[in-house]
Subunit: 331 residues, 2 copies
């Protein structure tokens, strides 16, 4: 394993420490709960939005903390759900008179942790609701999931409810908006290589020199099938067709299109993929009006990408257009 | 080779097409010259700032086109200097009454193309000056360079002169600012893996399963030495010590610190590296007041990172703080 890793057990705390050191004005780090929150703390004028998940998907979710996005994130170890008490303590620390919204990608371990934390928080008098995200069309159930997995489409839920929360929307309203965005968001990904978790020290699964995993999960879970590598346009078609067919997206739709890198694929390749997806959609009468190309939800150093479509309406488009700050400096 | 690539000869044009399709409101694409420029075109109220280089370093430089940054970029093929006529035509198209500033990373091929383009543009009556960037402390001369190489520190020159240009600074003033920033910027990088250029289809050089290349160039050029992989803190020290010693940076200095991913290293690892670098600098009395963690200048899919320090003064800090827009959507 060749990585910027010291003791693998310290990988997540060291990453979070680095993130906090790089952003002293905007982020607060509470090591006991792997908690990254806004330095400003909670406000009774807005619902607090919290996401937890396994680590290894950065920038999701610790780097999505900022104005117009999350209020706090409490990740677990690499590819492990956060312990229930991380979620519980984070919920209490970010309690607001307007309530707390917990966002959870649909994995069994995450659901258990968040369900328990919600119950305990409710017993403590916190007004808390939970919203599950399950945008991955690849498989119905999988290694770590009953029902569909939550993957990169999660970004759009965060962005939309984050924007609405800044405007003062109620907890019930945020749940409505989040459920709506999730209901019109579809994703599928493919792996060109496996990823190497620091604690394992070797690739999580075997993939031949000319093989790809179609419909891969963000923890390296198997997808729909293995195939031989093909040119980029065909790779994109392999992702686009099931995504379009699932909702289905139709001629006349206005959409957001995301090409999300899984960690080891450079942005140059993501733009090659984007161009073809955009043109294929245009040929079907589906208009891309918002585009997102880069890394949003990764799988450590996995090479590969996922493709997400969101069907826009006026409300969703307005919320995606709203200003947002992120917990890490870009330019 | 497993990549999002169709015909390798079309890799760069397809990337640029994707970039333009994703940003129709802000970017203009002129295929004849690999030109990505601001959709608004040149303005006689500001100096036009143009950078060209080989491709394969994205987001540098085509994705650094935007308000407060570059006016246009005209890359060559992967790891190849732009043809002289790309630079010449771009200079003419972005001509401004206030002049044109060409930014060039110090590589022999790039210098030749830009020197000739500058001469021809001057003959056409364009008021054009060129600024060379050579921030890499790793080697004095190298495979493609006489003198030091220009690498990720280039970002700070773009950001500073970009901000000053928006304020209406003269061409002479921009040259002064750019030279000053370059003179206080130092970088060194290391490779954990080789990169794979699309046209070659296999890794550019051989690196053992436990080997790293210290002081690597962004085209995979050899650096100072090969070594065995060591823990992250030691990797950071290997980069930090020569960078600090070179200027030298000293106790009492205020600095910007960049940990730049080379393409295949995920941002989680970059933050692990950042945390140690920040703390080591603090221990030496060097205060990090601005931080940059992510991908700024890559080498295709190479795993690895570079570390850049910039010694700040009030002018540089103010220019780095100025607002900027980039040619690709983040959030």
């Amino acid at each position: 394993m060749k990585k910027f890793v010291n003791d693998p057990k310290q990988f997540v705390p060291e990453m979070l420490k680095g993130l906090a050191l790089a952003n002293p004005d905007t982020l607060k780090y509470v090591p006991e709960y792997n908690l990254i929150g806004r330095a400003s703390g909670p406000s009774d004028d807005k619902v607090s939005i919290i996401q937890g998940s396994g680590s290894g998907h950065e920038p999701a979710h610790v780097m999505a903390v900022g104005k117009g996005m999350l209020d706090a994130a409490c990740p677990g170890d690499v590819f492990s759900a956060p312990p229930m008490d991380y979620v519980y303590e984070t919920t209490k620390l970010w309690n607001s008179a307007k309530g707390v919204l917990l966002l959870v990608n649909n994995y069994t371990g995450d659901r258990m942790a968040f369900d328990m934390a919600q119950e305990m928080s409710l017993a403590d008098g916190v007004n808390v609701k939970t919203l599950f995200i399950d945008d991955d069309v690849a498989v119905q159930d999988s290694t770590w999931t009953v029902g569909r997995r939550g993957v990169a489409g999660n970004f759009f839920v965060i962005k939309a409810v984050g924007a609405a929360a800044e405007e003062g929307a109620s907890l019930e309203e945020l749940v409505r908006i989040g459920e709506k965005v999730n209901s019109v968001t579809r994703t599928m990904g493919l792996a060109l290589t496996a990823c190497t978790p620091p604690a394992k020290g070797e690739p999580l699964f075997d993939l031949g020199d000319d093989e790809i995993e179609i419909g891969v999960g963000i923890h390296g879970e198997p997808g729909r099938r293995r195939a031989k590598i093909v040119p980029s346009d065909e790779l994109v078609d392999i992702l686009l067709e099931p995504v379009v067919a699932d909702l289905p997206f139709q001629s006349g739709d206005r959409v957001a299109l995301m090409i999300n890198g899984l960690g080891g694929t450079p942005i140059s390749e993501l733009y090659v993929a984007y161009g073809h997806a955009h043109e294929q959609l245009a040929a079907q009468g589906i208009e891309v009006v918002k585009s997102y190309v880069g890394e949003y939800c990764t799988s450590l150093d996995m090479a590969g990408a996922s493709l997400t479509l969101v069907r826009l309406d006026d409300e969703i488009e307005r919320l995606l257009d709203a200003p947002a700050e992120i917990g890490y400096r870009v330019f």
